[in-house]
Amino acid sequence: MNIQKLLSSVRQAKKFRPLNDFHRSPRSGIDVIDKEFNDVLFLLKELFKQFKASGCKIDISFYGEVFVSLPESVHRFELAISNRPTIKNAEVLLKKLESIQIVKLDNIDIDDTLVVSIKTIRSRAKWKHYSVSEFKSDYCEFADTILKELRQRVRYYNNPDSNEWTVNDSSTEDKLAAIHFGGALLGPASMLSYLSKHLRKVIYVKDLSITGNQITVNKSYFTEETNHYFGKKEEAFFDKYLLGYAAMRIEHDNHN
C-alpha cells in the first residue's frame, strides 16, 4: 500500500476513535487535538517514508491502529501518537491528591505533550515514548531512533510469536465498547443505553455477538445466553462503528 493510502486510512479511522473512550482496553493509534491532527499526519508521512525505505511493512487497522513490522522479523509493533504529560508516575500524584486538593508542578510543560510511542505486540510488552519536540523535525533521525529500538527489542525475542495475528481482529471488548458508546450516543431512552447499563454489572462476558438485529450475550461457562433485539437506529449505528457488522448481516440474511 502506498503512503498516501495509508494516511487516508488513518484519516478515515479518526471517526471511530471516540469508541476508545468506552473501551476497557483501548486501542492504540492517533489521538491528538484536532488542530494538531494535520501536523501529525505530516509527521506520520515522513516517518512512513523512512520506514518504507528500510523495507518495513506498515498496516492500518479499521480502528486506526498503526502496525509496523521489520523485514527481518515476524514481530510486529504498534505505533501511537498522542498527547501525554511528561509525568513519571501518575499513581504518585493520584495518591497525593487523596489527601490534598491541589498539586503544583513546575517541571512539566503543558504545551509540549506530543509523543510518539511504540510497543511490541506481545503480552506484557511495555510502551516506549519519544517526545516529538526532542527531534526538532529531523524525521530521518527520529525514524532511525525508532527502528534502532525495534531491532534491539527483536534481538531479545528468541521465539517467534506463535499467536495468530490479523490487522483487523474484533474482540468482545470492541463490541462491549460499541454498546456503551452507542448507549451514550443514542441517549438514555435507547435500547443500547439500557443494555450498556445492564452489562456494566456483569463481571464476565464470555462471548458476545452482534448479528442482524440481535445481540447475544453469553455470560459464563454455563450456557446462560440472553438475546437482545434492536431496531433500525441501532442497526445504522453498528453499520458505522462496528468492524465486520455489515458482513455479519449479509451472512445472517443468507441464512434466512
Binding site: R17, P18, N20, D21, F22, H23, R24, P26, D31, V32, I33, D34, S82, N83, R84, P85, A90, E91, L93, L94, L97, E98, Q101, I102, V103, K104, L105, D106, I108, D109, I110, T113, V115, W127, H180, F181, A184, L185, P188, S193, S196, K197, R200
Partner: protein, 279 residues
C-alpha cells in the same frame, strides 16, 4: 529557557447530576491539568466582577485550557467539553465526554489564592476613602437598613416575653380565659415568624450593600488579604476577607488571620470599621 510555568494538577470525581445516566468507569478521567496563566487570571477576575455586579453566586465559563488525563490510556483525552466554575473565592472544573451533554465529572473546589505563585499582596484599608460621595451614599443606605433592622429586632424580642407569659398563664389556669389565648398565641407566633423573616431579608440586603461598599470604595473582594490599623490603637490586624456583616454602626470584616510568617492562620480575626467616624 522558558518562563517558570505554574501547572496545577487536581483530582477528579464523578458528578451525579442525572440519575438516569450511569457513566461507564472508562469515561472518568484520573487527573486534571491546567496552567495558571495571566489570561486565566484575567478571565477569573472578570467573572468575579460579574458576580458582584449581577449579584450572582457562581459563573460558569466554557474553557479549553484544561487537559484531562486518563490513567487507563496514560494520555490526555480531547473529546471533552470543559467548564470552569468561578465563585467569589474558589474555582473548579467540570467536564463531559462527548456524546454526553451534561457534566459528569468535576474537580474539587480550590481557592483562587492557593493558585497564585507569588506572595499575595496585602491591601490596607484607608478610612479616608469613606468620605467620597459614593461611599457616603452606600453608608446612608446601610445605616437606614440597620435602623430598620434594630426596630424589627426590638419588636421581635418585645413579642417574646408576651408569648411566654401567655403560655405560662394558659398552663396555670384551669378554666378558659376571657380572651381566646390559643388563637392569640398562634397569631403572635405568626407575627414573630414574619418579623424574623423580614429581619433575615434585611440582613442579606445589608451584607450585600456592605460587600458592595468594600468592593466599590476599597476595591476589595472576598479572598483578598487585608491589613488594618485602627486610629487610636497600635495593633495591626491582618486577615483574609471571608465575609462581612453590619451590626449597629459597625462593619465587621471577618476571616482567618495572617500570621507573621505570611501564611493563613487558624484563628478568626475581625476588622471593625465604625461608620460613626465618618459623619
Amino acid at each position: 529557557m522558558k518562563n517558570k510555568n505554574n501547572i496545577i494538577c487536581l483530582g477528579v470525581n464523578e458528578l451525579f447530576q442525572d440519575k438516569q445516566l450511569h457513566y461507564p468507569a472508562t469515561t472518568l478521567p484520573s487527573l486534571c491539568f491546567f496552567e495558571f496563566t495571566q489570561t486565566l487570571q484575567h478571565i477569573i477576575d472578570n467573572a468575579i466582577k460579574l458576580l458582584f455586579e449581577q449579584r450572582l453566586h457562581e459563573v460558569t465559563i466554557q474553557t479549553s485550557n484544561v487537559n484531562w488525563y486518563f490513567n487507563l490510556t496514560d494520555r490526555y483525552h480531547h473529546n471533552i467539553r470543559s467548564l470552569m466554575h468561578v465563585d467569589a473565592m474558589t474555582i473548579s472544573f467540570s467536564g463531559s465526554l462527548r456524546p454526553y451533554k451534561q457534566s459528569h465529572f468535576s474537580t474539587a473546589k480550590i481557592s483562587i489564592n492557593q493558585l497564585k505563585f507569588n506572595q499575595i499582596p496585602i491591601s490596607s484599608i484607608n478610612l479616608e476613602q469613606l468620605t467620597i460621595p459614593l461611599a457616603k451614599g452606600l453608608i446612608n443606605k446601610i445605616q437606614q437598613l440597620s435602623r430598620q433592622y434594630s426596630e424589627q429586632e426590638d419588636l421581635y424580642y418585645g413579642i417574646e416575653p408576651i408569648v411566654n407569659e401567655l403560655r405560662a398563664l394558659d398552663e396555670k389556669v384551669a378554666f378558659a380565659l376571657h380572651i381566646d389565648s390559643e388563637s392569640q398565641l398562634s397569631l403572635l407566633n405568626i407575627k414573630g415568624n414574619q418579623i424574623y423573616a423580614k429581619m433575615e431579608t434585611l440582613e442579606i440586603e445589608m451584607n450585600y450593600l456592605s460587600e458592595q461598599l468594600l468592593y466599590q470604595v476599597f476595591g476589595l473582594t472576598k479572598g483578598d488579604w487585608l491589613s488594618y490599623k485602627p486610629q487610636n490603637d497600635a495593633t495591626l490586624t491582618q486577615l483574609q476577607f471571608e465575609h462581612c456583616r453590619v451590626y449597629d454602626n459597625t462593619l465587621n470584616i471577618i476571616g482567618p488571620g495572617i500570621t507573621k510568617a505570611g501564611i493563613l492562620g487558624k484563628r478568626e480575626q475581625y476588622i471593625n470599621i465604625e461608620f460613626g467616624v465618618v459623619e
